[in-house]
Symmetry: C2
């Protein structure tokens, strides 16, 4: 493969995860290995940084800072939910790439971001501008197709399952046959996160919490819910319920819209399914319930992140650079693939960006037990390897200390663009 000389640009998009910065560190550290890569730039706030020509110089950051990114939450470059809206946006992007001799673009994001990356790739080809575009998956939601799992998922379910286990020890101390405790977790369209809570149920310990898991995949019925809780309370001292924020009824409507607001990106902002179930328990059973809502804390919980997840996120970043620079790949997304062996091994692969961006991956129906409120062994076998190992977050004066980039700006070459 002919060497392609030029600069490299990396951006982060969508909701942060605990390990999205580990991927960024992987991209930066691998890119430093190649003579043909001159500058390593970061795009501030994802593709918005491209339109605004707002780049920072990543090679000038200290090694300590970049190393620290492997254990820092948030998204060090800033993120966005902004998508290119019109052809002019893509044309502007190519113009900016040309002005800064960007030949490699790495975009860390979810489905929507992969679509943007795919279109950028084809626009550059149409214009005869040599550009290699590689997407790198990230999302706590684990709903990207073509990859066995997504970086970010292992950490969020490690934190959620840890929280459920801890809450259960509390409930066990307090409960007297009438204690209901509800944990609401993220997951707009799929129950991958809620399902992950089941890891805290030990094999052959059917009484272990969580006792009931409500997934967006299973249409919610109030009557069945009340029966479910009643059944658990007859059997156990307490009942731990985990519910995804995106719970829907049999007509596909969200059972709760929280304060039913839209976020700045026009998405319905979910939340409140936990409080909703709490109300049902109290009215339907006359039993008091307590709810917790981890909210964005769950996607930022570096202090309880999975080392396996952080390592894989870092690996995905490095592999993206290897694919583009060494192997001349473009228009692909790095995937994580499970090895064939019985012991868990994670390998990487590549999938076409165009294919990835369509559709979301849902939990296989046959991983959900017939009761609709618990996961079976194939799910556990799938998810358990992803939470192994604890990231050794650096604590300073009692609190975790995280890396923050200096953000040395790269000089602009063009006139401003109206977003």
């Amino acid at each position: 493969m002919a060497e392609l000389e030029g600069n490299c640009l990396v951006g982060q998009s969508g909701g942060p995860t605990a390990v999205i910065n580990a991927t960024l560190a992987g991209v930066i550290e691998e890119a430093l290995n190649y003579e043909c890569v001159e500058e390593i730039y970061g795009s501030v706030n994802g593709v918005m940084g491209i339109l605004n020509e707002e780049f920072i110089d990543l090679a000038s950051e200290s090694q300590q800072t970049i190393r620290g990114l492997r254990a820092s939450p948030g998204a060090a470059l800033g993120t966005c939910r902004f998508q290119f809206k019109k052809d002019a946006d893509f044309e502007r992007a190519i113009e900016v790439f040309k002005a800064h001799e960007i030949r490699y673009f790495f975009y860390i994001g979810d489905n929507d971001s992969m679509a943007t990356a795919a279109k950028l790739n084809s626009m550059a080809a149409d214009q005869g501008y040599e550009l290699r575009v590689i997407g790198i998956p990230k999302t706590i939601d684990n709903d990207i197709t073509r990859t066995d799992h997504t970086p970010g998922y292992g950490s969020v379910i490690k934190y959620v399952a840890t929280t459920v286990r801890e809450m259960a020890f509390d409930n066990d101390a307090v409960g007297q046959g009438d204690y209901v405790s509800i944990l609401e977790v993220m997951g707009r369209n799929s129950g991958w996160i809620a399902a992950g809570a089941s890891l805290c149920k030990r094999r052959d310990h059917p009484h272990d919490p969580p006792h009931l898991i409500y997934l967006p995949e299973v249409p919610f019925s109030t009557e069945k819910f009340i029966e479910d809780v009643k059944r658990v309370l007859q059997r156990e001292k307490y009942c731990v319920i985990v519910v995804g924020e995106g719970l829907v009824d049999s007509d596909g409507n969200y059972v709760s819209l929280g304060s039913s607001s839209m976020d700045a990106f026009g998405n319905v902002q979910l939340g409140g399914s936990g409080e909703y179930l709490k109300g049902l328990v109290e009215k339907g059973l006359g039993v008091s319930a307590r709810s917790c809502k981890l909210g964005i804390a769950q996607r930022a919980a570096m202090h309880c992140a999975s080392q396996t997840d952080a390592d894989e996120a870092y690996l995905a970043g490095r592999q993206a650079v290897i694919a583009a620079v060494q192997n001349g790949e473009s228009g692909k997304m790095v995937t994580l693939q499970r090895g064939e062996s019985d012991a868990y091994v994670c390998e990487t692969g590549l999938a076409d960006l165009g294919e990835v961006s369509e559709g979301t991956k849902r939990i296989p129906e046959d991983w959900i037990n017939d009761d609709g409120v618990s996961m079976n062994y194939p799910f556990v076998k799938y998810a358990l390897p992803l939470i192994q190992g604890e990231v050794d977050a650096h604590f300073d004066n009692g609190l975790p200390a995280f890396s923050k980039l200096k953000r040395m700006p790269v000089e602009k070459q063009l006139v401003a663009y109206a977003l």
Copy 2:
């Protein structure tokens, strides 16, 4: 002091903390040192276990299990909010103590439990039954008088401040001048926990989150709140708010009652102040906000507990036994006292149970800045030593592994008592 031969009983009461089992471990391990202490019993579910004569044999538990209690959340003996209601309850208790030759009673609990312990102590004296009663404070709320701070407080604020710092890194990545993030924490009558979030603000970093802290100590005004948030958003990319569940207006009414339910003990169950503030931000400023509610997860978060707190909780347990067995004390509560030196040192003392049980300790007014939404240096100096060090929770297969007692029952000697 004449040696008093007999058995020892220990109970746990009220809401669990991350370190209430560390105190239990301290009691058990110290009690094992004395020849005059024959059996070490645990009372199941606090003083309910006394009325029900439901004791377990703690000396028969493995050393590994007892050691593991120092890093296990919940309350290993089970807890209760039950208080003795009538003289007959106290008389029954003395009768049970006599039947089991209980000469030492250690009660780990909050204000209400100290009142129960005080009355048990005087009832035994009235009846001429030699009994030594020592209370050991525990509460995440930090509102017990006569002790510098309470075991349980350091861990909850370490977890809350860690969560705020992590959320802030997420908000910093996502925010564009209009991002409001609200964290609701516990604290029915006092803002100690919410105030603890301020530890994540570094000295001389006025822009650090949390930007606004709303305490039950400061009457809430909607107009001021909207102005506060507006001011922060003009200055920062995002606004992190921490709010105590027990926020009250100028008439002393709770601003939000959540689903306004009572818990099984007839207490108003708070919760919802975070969602309430979210609504105000969205209506008052037209800006979308997100709320998290840590709920009981915060008092069970062993995976993020303070080593200092766990050590002090353990120490308090040992000191209780030393006071009763070696020094013949009774009717006292172990206190934690700060040494005079500049470097933090924790010593223990004793206070009269009767004095302790009256009143709750509130945050000194002059530790709250004039803006009413931030804490000043004396608070930080007070609280920062309490979160130092990380408990090394034992992880097994990706999740924390906690101790659970075998609970070998002690044979009952009396007929059942109607509660």
